[in-house]
Symmetry: C2
Subunit: 634 residues, 2 copies
Amino acid sequence: MASNSSSSRHQTARHRLSIIAGHLQRPADSDAALLAVDCKAQANKPNVSAGDRSEGRTVPRKRQEIMKWNGWGYSDSRFLFNKKGQAEFTGKRYRLSGMIIPGLKDWMESTFGANLQHKTQATPALNSSAVQPPTLNEVFVEELKSTGIPFSHEAEDRVFRGHGHCLHEIFALREGKIGRVPDMVVWPSCHNDVVKIVELACKHNVCLIPYGGGTSVSSALECPPEETRSIVSLDTSQMNRILWIDEKNLTAHVESGIVGQDLERLLNESGYCTGHEPDSMEFSSLGGWVATRASGMKKNIYGNIEDLVVHIKMVTPRGVIEKSCQGPRMSTGPDIHHFILGSEGTLGVVTEVTIKIRPIPEYQKYGSVVFPSFEQGVACLREVARQRCAPASIRLMDNEQFKFGHALKPQVSSIFTSFLDGLKKFYITKFKGFDPNRLCVATLLFEGDREKVLQHEKQVYDIAAKFGGLAAGEDNGQRGYMLTFVIAYLRDLGMDYYVIGESFETSVPWDRVLDICRNVKARIVQECKDKGVQFPPLSTCRVTQTYDAGACVYFYFAFNYRGLSDPVHVYEQVEHAAREEILANGGSLSHHHGVGKLRKEWMRETVSSVGMGMLKSVKDYVDPNNIFGNRNLL
Amino acid sequence: MASNSSSSRHQTARHRLSIIAGHLQRPADSDAALLAVDCKAQANKPNVSAGDRSEGRTVPRKRQEIMKWNGWGYSDSRFLFNKKGQAEFTGKRYRLSGMIIPGLKDWMESTFGANLQHKTQATPALNSSAVQPPTLNEVFVEELKSTGIPFSHEAEDRVFRGHGHCLHEIFALREGKIGRVPDMVVWPSCHNDVVKIVELACKHNVCLIPYGGGTSVSSALECPPEETRSIVSLDTSQMNRILWIDEKNLTAHVESGIVGQDLERLLNESGYCTGHEPDSMEFSSLGGWVATRASGMKKNIYGNIEDLVVHIKMVTPRGVIEKSCQGPRMSTGPDIHHFILGSEGTLGVVTEVTIKIRPIPEYQKYGSVVFPSFEQGVACLREVARQRCAPASIRLMDNEQFKFGHALKPQVSSIFTSFLDGLKKFYITKFKGFDPNRLCVATLLFEGDREKVLQHEKQVYDIAAKFGGLAAGEDNGQRGYMLTFVIAYLRDLGMDYYVIGESFETSVPWDRVLDICRNVKARIVQECKDKGVQFPPLSTCRVTQTYDAGACVYFYFAFNYRGLSDPVHVYEQVEHAAREEILANGGSLSHHHGVGKLRKEWMRETVSSVGMGMLKSVKDYVDPNNIFGNRNLL
């Protein structure tokens, strides 16, 4: 299996070395492949960069040390209403941390009919006795022990890795309900550790579920309840080194467990970046991006994950799969990278990736544009795409999100401003003639050479003006982007006050954007009404990426569930209907969140029966005993 | 099979229509899927554009009407030496047509030791009795007749489709040697014709080999001699309509048999282009581009084929495979388009493709830069790539190709200029201080908005200056690109005078470019010497595409084979060694020519055993009886 592949690669390498003398120095990972050294030896090699594994790494083995067990993100950061009834964001990690958000209360009350008196009670701590005892495969455990690879079957470790961040998953945790979770967690430190784990799992028929950042919103991490074998969560978080940086080719070879914030921070120290900035980047991992076909905020400059990767190494039950060459683009049959990208943990574990890097841009500038209507905003974004002059990021939010954005403004002076006052002030003083219930805002980010950025900026604002858009300042733009990483914390606040919600997304041709936005939002409202939701839902959208042939549209949907006996079920029905509406309007099953288990039912329709058959044939070949049994996709 | 897929799509479509009222008008191809109408009815639909199938289409059913049977391109266009011993290019189709090329004789004599007295004799016409009688599958033929789809088992039609343009294939034809060729040729007119043909082939176990433009240089079109079943060449050339142009989304839905020159010409009529311009574009087809992962000259603006396609429809033995959505980018598992792209005719027939289109650029400008050395030229191209400011096209030729380019200058005045005179004049008057045996030239093409082009041009020339490059004028640039389409005709001239040769290419990381160029060229020279080639070979290269993480390098290799008993065998050994050298130096198996049968032996090493297994599992699922039995890739 893996060793066969290693020795044949050994042969190939020797053959090459015999052809030319004095060949270039091979990077560390190939040496590892040739000599099967363990990670400790690797760590002592002079050409391995970026120091110790734990240095500068966000995620510890024990995630509970810093992260919430039943909500999003860091334990020390949350929205709450203080004794004065004002919304606050706790902690010290974010720009918003420690600040009052005056408008949030009014906004929640008026948008959802929420009431600070009506508070739910989340289970504060995990009750270990609520967790099924682990089903351990004894021989597997014994052999694992002799490898020295750390593992655990403590309840807390297991629960942490048995879920992603779908609404139903978090809701259940808040209720203290624990379903099927992994029986064990293992923490490989390097590719060779993963090879050993996979070999053992195959030998002893143990189910492996790779775990990167745990940020899945497709139920991808949910353990299949029908799984009778021992489930082992293969947590890659400690496999997080930058193995080498290649300044000549502008690439870096990185272990797959590194999370986005660490990768960027470490590369920044050398003056580089990948520029891949998914909203989940604080916690999501390189391997997870590959497995789910991730997209980043600044893809207009840096590309999506499929544009960023030059080389992928994955361990499968059949052995290690990787190309032999780091050429930039090839015609060597169907591109096997694309068998791996999007495989969502069903085929193996991505262990190492060569990713493109860029020099940190010289200059960054935010911006924003207010449009009289969403229609005009969309037409502007379409024209920007047509002229192929999109900034690093351009996002158009609808009127509801524009108002929501105002609600999240932190208090920066001692004068208390109500949400409505602030809003009025904004449109009266700046945008006379704009209907406050129709206007919408686009946020912009430009990066690059300063002179080019200013030129580029002018071009984009000129186009915006043709569609009735008025520049609304850098502040509004910057604030929009700064909120990116705190928005996810809002759902927990919502759930504290009987409000549940989710985001979901699609990609769609340009001529279908307006219809999809209108129809899906209307469908959500109708379905909620039909299902007895007592207060009209928040149903809002944003055009969040532009392409030549279409756009990515992101929806937020949330509602007050007081009075409903099974709120999660209602939520799921509405989300299902929304996805049907999306598909009927020509939208895709997903732009970047992926399929997981949540959207499996539409896969056949999406890729056709023959497509399904192809995917299944690959799965059956690579993993005939379904060791990678998360049951995603197929 | 195909019909099951069609009725399930019918169901899906009905379901969608029931969700929303007044849904958008569906394009013609979906109507065809729903109602299984035949091609004649389609042609009468008002929303089918671009007129009659034969109007404005280059390639007739009987290719022999316009094309050579044993050489490249049009019958009426060829290089020859006239009675005065001057090189001419015949015909009226090209800019070079009808012109004298004064320097070519000297160049051929000095480069190859060729001699106009030493002329080979190509078999002038196909001798039909040299062609094996066809192995016809009678029941297949009978059922095919009832479909009304045109077919032939005439020798000439069969021979035409039994080869691509590898040296050994053309050499054999010139010698009048005909190996295994298809037994029949069929000409489907539309997707539904292909569905019928594939169904019949599956039913009667007939081997199908799709045939697009016939320009393969990977032995992809060679019929496997061991194939005992009837081989049917499925010629897509008459399936060549633009079914619709979508100006809102800037896409066009096109039948796969259209050739590049027709596609561009037809789109130009509406003010659009795909911008996809492979050197083979006069004859190569959209389906062939998809099957081989084609790359075009101007990929810096328009992208390679994988960037251009939005939707692919392919007929396989299992049924029709296609996505349900035309979204610009998705995360719905591994991307099935990438199972099709590069499948080289082993899985089915691509019938229709939605491809991105762009407005015809306002302005085009050629350019050229002379560098003191190849090293400096490569460093310049690397810097241009690093700054992400590459023009539409930038190509750096080595010193030999610079000289070769001069040899191809047509005579434009009455004063005869010898090759050496012209060369001397060039470097003495313009490039004092440049060593004529080291200097090299980059050709450039800029396209777009006029103002942006001029800015862009300045940026690139400024970078070039940092590497010792001097602007050498638009003419030299333009001439370089104009020669693109006549270069292929030169090989036939070479073969008339005992010179055989081939081009081959690779993609390679930036830091390996110089080594690969030097080492591969040196290896070629050494191998020729070892194998008894009597005159040193032409061994030359060009950096022909730039990427973030590397480049495409294109080699030409040719030699005088007088005195060799088995010249093609010598050629093959040298080419093989050159490919080994490429791989040993970190180059890929191919940037865009593909694998075919010519490079199969390196596939396992290229994609790893697990990768091979994945490809094989897909093949075994999609085509368990190897109906698509060209034996490419695996």
